[in-house]
Symmetry: C2
Subunit: 340 residues, 2 copies
């Protein structure tokens, strides 16, 4: 697929979905739309990802286009009306439009009409399937090995670690697949359910369904965790993923130096060792698993401090650890695959 | 309010909502509709609740009627078409119709039209408000004391214990209110949000909102818990209630003799002492609280065995315990109110 990614005024720092697609996606990115950076290139801002030109708007994209992806997630998940001309023009070219907003494009009368007229599809990644059900509590019976990333907070590296581990496993010849549970992962994989948008009764069931579907395709599954189990707002989503996926092993993700929940500074984050024990005690009665590796996001540290922080983190959780972006996911892969 | 309760072919065993309203509600129940028991009375089946005649259908209710309540929750939450004539006739009399089904009465064209024509209201208790938001993580700051019932399984007595404790507290002169989180409690209180129907991102926020609203009205709140934290399907809902409510104290509810999750017999229920510790470890990083009392459902035991089981349960969780229906909620009230 040839795609363009809309990230107006957000590239690269507020464009998690765009960067995820550029880094891990299989699609060819023909352009990034950011009117504040027109004329620059992706590589000017983010190394080690697929390069692409940054343009003013969709009219500057001359190549044939299969889809326009909204690669920015504004707070609140709304649709910014300044994006409308690009979305309109994409549909008029017959390109699909893909978004992970709370605002569903398919419910927008103009977009629905244009999509219909031009044979294009509106794909709202956060809209849950309408046939979800309560979990059967049977995900532990799948044939695949299931590895779940869990975190000490939101934005602690679960999505990145999931994809880095899957890539490292594939490089080693392992038949590895990803189970995405959030809109960025879904945009990258072109598959998945945004668990945070599912009615809470069915959240574990949604994860169970994905694990069962993907276990039929792959030998090892890397399931993207959500939130954190001691997060005051999102812990319910976290727990649903934990018990819905029934993983064999857990990888604990943490942002170095963060000691309070992001956006909830009055709620301290427990020390990593205690946090690992909390996850283990929660899965134990349902489907036991241990934290067998750690992933530390060291982007706020310099190189020396990063190495020390990883060593300290590994000691705290009593398991091998790495920063899979700065260093290498393959360092923890043997533990993750159960070979250690 | 004068209400009739529809429970066709379900009274009393499959009519949890009806029995809850008869036992704890403030409304006057003028009739129970069960065509298989017409001519009998509530007291023939359930002692110690408000009495009422059981009739064939709504045409046998001669009294003025404010509302018809659907007091039966079929598996799947669907609407049984054999109920339609009673619902129709209630609306034609101008009575509101209240239901906690997954099927929303207000989305039924005939009911919507009749309600409109006759100035009646269709109240779907499970429909969440459309302005819910993510939790602020601030429920611990309310002035009221907050007591949450938690369980070792679904149907372990959380709703009953919540209402029994609130009643016992009121009898002692305490200004106590209930925060209902499921459809039966909502039907009884005429207030509340069915947390299991809320999008999982907003589940804790829904509970937080209710705690903040009710804390402005009462000195002590009894929050109805949901599910169980080691339940393979519903643990996410449980965790959202736990962190959304930020209770000061927990009451652990257990069904005597049950050692596997109901409907998930392959998942064992941890021993009560371990279960209490699991709840405490989960609230500890967010808003610490302890299991300070236990509620044991002994309905399957004879009188002698029930007393022994309560003693054993109290010992296991290292806290006072009772069966609030068979014995008396006031036995654990001092602990629940923090007076012990």
């Amino acid at each position: 697929m040839r795609v363009a990614i809309l990230v107006h005024e957000g590239f690269p720092d507020r464009a998690k979905t765009a960067v995820g697609i550029l880094r891990y996606g299989d699609d060819e990115v023909v352009a990034v739309l950011d009117r504040t950076r027109a004329g620059e290139r992706v590589r000017d801002h983010v190394p080690d990802v697929q390069d692409a030109p940054i343009v003013e708007g969709i009219d500057d994209v001359d190549e044939p286009l299969d889809a326009l992806v909204v690669g920015i997630a504004p707070i609140g998940g709304g649709f910014d009306e300044t994006w409308r001309p690009d979305v309109r023009a994409a549909l008029e070219r017959g390109a699909d439009v893909v978004a992970g907003l709370h605002y569903f494009l398919a419910d927008d009368d103009e977009f629905a009409r244009l999509a219909d007229e031009h044979g294009a599809e509106l794909r709202d990644l956060r809209r849950p399937p309408d046939d979800l059900a309560v979990s059967d509590g049977r995900a532990s019976e799948v044939d695949a090995e299931v590895v779940l990333t869990v975190g000490t907070d939101c934005s602690s590296g679960k999505m990145t670690t999931t994809f880095e581990l899957a890539e490292a496993a594939r490089e080693r010849g392992v038949d590895a697949g990803v189970v995405p549970t959030g809109q960025t992962g879904i945009a990258i994989e072109n598959y998945g359910i945004a668990v945070d948008r599912v009615v809470s009764d069915f959240a574990a069931g949604a994860v169970e369904r994905m694990v069962e579907e993907r276990a039929a395709e792959f030998d090892v599954l890397f399931v993207e965790g959500q939130g954190a189990v001691a997060h005051p707002a999102y812990s319910g989503v976290t727990t649903s993923v934990l018990h819905g996926a029934m993983p064999d092993r857990l990888v604990l993700c943490h942002a170095a130096g963060r000691d309070a929940v992001h956006g909830y500074e009055h709620v301290p984050i427990p020390p990593p060792g205690e946090y690992a024990a909390l996850y283990e005690s929660l899965v134990d009665p349902v489907a036991p698993a241990e934290v067998i590796a750690g992933s530390l996001n060291t982007q706020d540290l310099d190189a020396d401090a990063a190495g020390d922080a990883v060593d300290e983190y590994a000691h705290a959780i009593d398991a091998p650890a790495t920063d899979p972006v700065r260093f290498d996911a393959s360092e923890i892969l043997p533990a993750v695959l159960g070979a250690e």
